[in-house]
């Protein structure tokens, strides 16, 4: 870890000003990700601006849903009765994340900003276009069991590590961001960006932008949602594959459907083809199987991760059976 300066921000404006003044400055909240990366030498910030004293911890009901402050702790959100009732997929994803100790430290905003677990990204001796643009992606023909089967590029096949973001994608969450030009909102689906030829860029945020809240719109599908996480061990592991499914079934037909995937792409991945295969169709096993097949469309393995494509199909099918109440 490099030597760095530390400052505690009293308000959002001074936090943002501190970052604006120093291109190598970074925000720190729970620190469960950035401190790890600093220990590995992957992140070498000159200044850490501690934002944990900003008043962004609230979890509040609004006319349209729930607004979760960016600094709300993962554990607090998971335990909140409105989240558990109206967005079970979110509570389940949170409780399937990390460990209780980490969830007591980590924040919702920080969770969206967490960086990939790719072993080549985290090992500064290795080639990685995300960490060191232009050096190449060592994972494509290396140890890639945990890597992406969709959404990657020749520059990067990492996976996004968050469970929460996958769940939020399935409930159409909206990210509130404060930037130089004031407040703006970004649908979560457009918040993370695919690597393409610039894998070092992971979100639409500019340096100094501050996530203030995540808005969860209420919906019938969100109330009937489910998170399925598949991993080698029973707890405390990033997903091999995960599925967030939200379904509104009325009169035996699917009126709304969301299928989001984790562990398969450099961003939380929305399976639009699967959703299209569900919408308007009867909520039957045959429909779910077809949607599960559609979810794998365009997926490509790199050797060790080939199994994820089969696993996606099986896991989507399982998750849809759960929310379709035919399990």
């Amino acid at each position: 870890m490099n030597a760095f300066r530390y400052a505690q921000a009293r308000d959002a404006a001074s936090a943002m000003a501190a970052l604006a003044a120093d291109p190598r400055a970074r925000y720190i909240a729970g620190g469960t990700n950035v401190v790890d990366l600093m220990k590995e030498g992957v992140e070498r910030p000159s200044l850490l601006v501690d934002i944990t004293q900003l008043p962004l911890r609230g979890i509040d009901r609004t006319a349209t849903g729930v607004r979760v402050g960016a600094l709300a702790l993962m554990s607090d959100v998971a335990d909140h009765p409105a989240i558990a009732r109206d967005y079970p997929v979110v509570a389940q994803a949170l409780l399937a994340s990390a460990s209780p100790q980490l969830r007591n430290m980590a924040t919702i905003g920080g969770n969206l900003m967490q960086r990939t677990r790719c072993a080549y990204f985290r090992d500064v001796s290795q080639h990685c276009n995300k960490r060191a643009p232009g050096t190449g992606c060592a994972a494509i023909s290396g140890v890639n069991r945990r890597h992406a089967v969709v959404g990657g590029s020749e520059q990067c096949i990492c996976t996004h590590a968050s469970d929460l973001a996958v769940a939020l994608l399935s409930v159409d969450a909206i990210v509130h961001v404060r930037g130089r030009a004031g407040e703006r909102t970004v649908p979560l689906e457009r918040f993370h960006v695919l690597p393409g030829s610039t894998p070092q860029r992971e979100t639409v945020l500019e340096h100094g932008d501050l996530i203030t809240a995540v808005e969860l719109p209420a919906s019938a599908a969100a109330r009937n949602s489910y998170y399925l996480k598949v991993r080698d061990r029973a707890s405390y592991e990033f997903a091999l594959v995960s599925v967030a499914a939200a379904l509104n079934v009325a009169g035996g037909r699917i009126r709304a459907a969301r299928v989001a995937l984790g562990g398969v792409a450099p961003t939380p991945w929305r399976a639009h083809a699967a959703e299209a295969a569900l919408l308007g169709r009867p909520a039957t096993g045959g429909t779910f199987a077809a949607a599960a097949e559609a979810a794998t469309r365009g997926m490509k393995g790199y050797g060790q991760n080939d199994f994820k494509i089969v696993l996606v199909r099986r896991a989507v099918n399982r998750a849809l059976q759960h929310v379709g109440a035919i399990a």
Binding site: M1, N2, A3, E40, G41, R117, A119, Y120, R122, D123, S125, Q126, A138, S141, G142, V143, R145, R146, V230, R231, D232, R233, A234, S235, Y236, E237, F238, L240, D306, F307, V310, L311, R314, A315, N317, R318
Partner: protein, 707 residues
């Protein structure tokens, strides 16, 4: 206090540990202590060129040690220790994470920061990074353990009514004790004191003395508390020598503590093994042939061979047996002992094959093992005691084996497949020479000293029990000191032999002290009854300040006459999700006959821990290398998975009482390692029963069950 031995006495060091008062090697504070951080290679073969200018100028840096300025030492192989140590004696890189420099600074943080500033350029040389690409050869070391032949196994196999023949793979595994390796080294003139996280201070002292070319008497090694060793701390590793070299270079005490990523590669590991096991049997299941061929990896500069096939000469009787061991040289550090070094892997192959034979013959797996029970080993030696039959019987009873429908995929729990598996276990009873001191003080209390190290297993406690029982004292009136090479010699806490060796010595030393007390009482044993008060009165009357009991205990003739082993049986129940390929162990019963049990509580912990290790081995643990560079790409606990609490079900150990007069003075066989033997096979066999899929390469991860 007769009856103390065997009782489930609480750990005598428990309070020290839970209050933080127990000081581990990394916590040793010395005046003037400075901090070393190793810079490790990032490739597996080549020559390194170190540019340390920036690091030398960094704040707080005292020195950067490189091959240019490192003190010259004997880095071993033949002379020093059990392995060659890559300690900056040349620029040649032979494995990933080999030390290429050490930064010494006034704080750990500054040393860490400066270590990241060291620039290393490599002139790459070809590396052997793939097991398949390395040529196989017959090891020069290993002696008569390398190959064993009895009868004609190949011919018997060809003629067998039923045969199974499979290849079983166990990948590289890392020990991952909770406490990382740590060394604090201090020179006082030519006297070296090292606080070291080691399983054996006498062994470490010898290696360090030879490395630095100084008399053994000039080295003191202290290892008071260890947060897990598992064989990984059985040897001296480069960081320990480097700490002492750096201390010499900067003329101050130096501490080096490994980071978790450094625990992969810079120290030892369980080598990959590829085993062929072929069994021939009659239709009644009686074995006519066992062929057990092992190919394992070693480093390009040293040989390490574990007796992987040895278990095939012990578990079952067969007229025809072939056991071979071969090695392959890869660009890794030299592999080392890891909990049941040979038997853990060997039992996975043999006991998976026995399960396959059970299905091939249609005989129940427990019954098949009972039919092949034997009273002599492959050399014809009788066993000093053998509890295999009883372990299988009691284990099956407790586990509810009779409820098992043997047909694969026949048992379900909702949508999950249910599987039940069994495997047998054995582990040899080792013993080495050891000495001990038992001193009786004027107040009637006693002090026990041995250089043996308690690596977390409970040696402090059981040794206290042994001495207390002989002296008729409660455990509270016996103080014990371990883990200092200044104390009477004991072997490594490895090979499950410390209790047998040092425990026997402590019993003999206590008997010696007791004999002297009895002499003081003119043979009146009643004068010794009444704990410390009675003994204090006796000594006061006799005008004696202290009494010292000493011993030199060593293996007797019985080791030549008998085959000495622990035996056991492992029973696992799993749930497998047939769609997602995930396996969870839901129940585990294991039963062992391992001689006399000195403390039921600490013994159960060893058996439970062995099962937990078996779960990791069966389902999770896998070190993955980048085959282009030889770099370990799973060098953290998020990528290298060990079981977490949620993976560990109720584990029910059964202790089979055993009275073996042949093994040693205290009748113990050692319990630290047998718990893992067969555990992975029991789980793999349960997975087969659940799914009908025979996975022969560990770990059993979802992708292997999805197809």
């Amino acid at each position: 206090m007769s009856g103390l031995v065997g009782a489930p006495v609480d750990r005598v060091d428990g309070r020290l540990k839970v209050t933080g008062a127990a000081k581990y090697s990394a916590e040793i504070a010395l005046p003037g202590l400075v901090y070393g951080v190793m810079v490790l290679s990032t490739t597996a073969s080549g020559t390194s060129q170190v540019d340390a200018d920036a690091a030398r100028r960094a704040p707080g840096v005292i020195a950067v040690m490189t091959p240019q300025n490192a003190p010259r030492v004997d880095s071993g192989g033949n002379g020093a220790g059990d392995r060659t140590l890559m300690v900056l004696q040349d620029e040649v890189v032979r494995y990933d994470r080999q030390p290429v420099a050490v930064v010494v600074a006034d704080t750990f943080e500054r040393a860490t920061d400066a270590a990241a500033m060291v620039r290393v350029r490599y002139a790459a040389a070809p590396a052997v990074t793939r097991f398949d690409a390395a040529a196989e050869y017959k090891p020069a070391s290993g002696g008569r353990d390398v190959d064993k032949h009895k009868g004609d196994a190949a011919a018997a196999l060809a003629q067998a009514a039923v045969k199974v023949d499979g290849t079983y793979i166990v990948p590289v595994e890392h020990h991952n004790p909770m406490e990382p390796h740590a060394t604090v080294a201090q020179w006082d003139g030519d006297q070296l004191t090292v606080y070291e996280s080691t399983q054996g201070v006498i062994n470490a002292r010898r290696t360090l003395a030879q490395t630095f070319g100084i008399p053994t008497a000039s080295v003191r090694v202290v290892s008071k508390f260890i947060g897990g060793g598992f064989g990984g701390k059985g040897s001296v590793w480069p960081h320990a020598v480097l700490a002492a070299m750096a201390a010499k270079l900067v003329n101050r005490p130096v501490k080096i503590v490994l980071s978790r990523p450094q625990m992969f590669g810079s120290v030892g590991f369980r080598p990959q093994t590829v085993q062929r096991v072929a069994l021939g049997a009659g239709s009644d299941g009686r074995l006519s042939a066992i062929i057990h061929e092992t190919s394992a990896q070693t480093s390009v500069f040293d040989e390490f061979m574990a007796g992987t096939g040895a278990i095939s000469a012990v578990l079952y009787g067969t007229p025809n047996l072939t056991i071979t061991h071969r090695l392959r040289r890869l660009n890794t550090s030299t592999p080392t002992f890891m909990r049941a070094p040979g038997e853990a892997c060997g039992s996975f192959a043999l006991e998976s094959a026995m399960d396959e034979l059970a299905y091939a013959t249609g005989i129940d797996p427990v019954e098949l093992r009972l039919r092949n029970d034997t009273q002599v080993d492959a050399d014809g030696k009788p066993f000093s005691s053998r509890a295999l039959r009883e372990a299988l019987r009691q284990g099956a009873e407790r586990f509810g084996w009779s409820r098992r429908d043997p047909r694969p995929r026949s048992m379900r729990d909702g949508r999950l497949l249910v599987g039940m598996g069994v495997a047998a276990a054995s582990y040899p009873t080792h013993r080495s020479a050891a000495s001990a001191l038992v001193r009786v003080n004027a107040d009637g209390t006693a002090l026990v000293q041995s250089s043996g190290v308690d690596i977390g297993t409970g040696a402090y406690t059981v040794f206290t029990q042994i001495a207390a029982e002989q002296l008729g004292l409660p455990v509270e009136q016996v103080r014990i000191e371990l883990g200092d090479s200044a104390f009477p010699a004991a072997p490594n806490a490895g090979g499950s032999q410390l209790t047998a060796s040092a425990g026997s010595a402590i019993k003999l030393a206590a008997l010696d002290a007791r004999a002297k007390l009895l002499a003081l009482a003119r043979g009146d044993a009643s004068a010794l009854i009444g704990g410390a008060a009675a003994i204090a009165a006796l000594m006061r009357t006799g005008g004696v300040e202290t009494i010292e009991g000493r011993s030199d205990a060593k293996p007797g003739d019985d080791a030549q006459k008998y085959a000495m082993h622990s035996f056991g049986a492992q029973f696992a129940e799993v749930r497998v999700d047939p769609d997602l390929g995930t396996v969870r162990v839901v129940r585990f019963v294991n039963a062992f006959g391992a001689g006399r049990i000195l403390n039921e509580k600490t013994a159960r912990s060893q058996y439970i821990g062995g099962a937990v290790w078996g779960i990791g081995m069966a389902l999770l643990e896998h070190t993955r290398y980048d085959e282009r560079s030889g770099r370990i790409m799973t060098a953290n606990l998020a990528e290298y998975l060990v079981p977490v609490n949620a993976d560990v079900p109720a584990i029910e150990p059964i202790i089979i009482p055993e009275d073996d007069p042949h093994v040693n003075e205290i009748g113990v066989k050692g319990i630290g390692e047998i718990g893992i033997v067969g555990a992975a096979a029991a789980i793999a066999n349960a997975v087969y029963h659940a799914t009908g899929k025979r996975v022969r390469d560990l770990p059993i991860t979802p992708e292997k069950l999805l197809a």
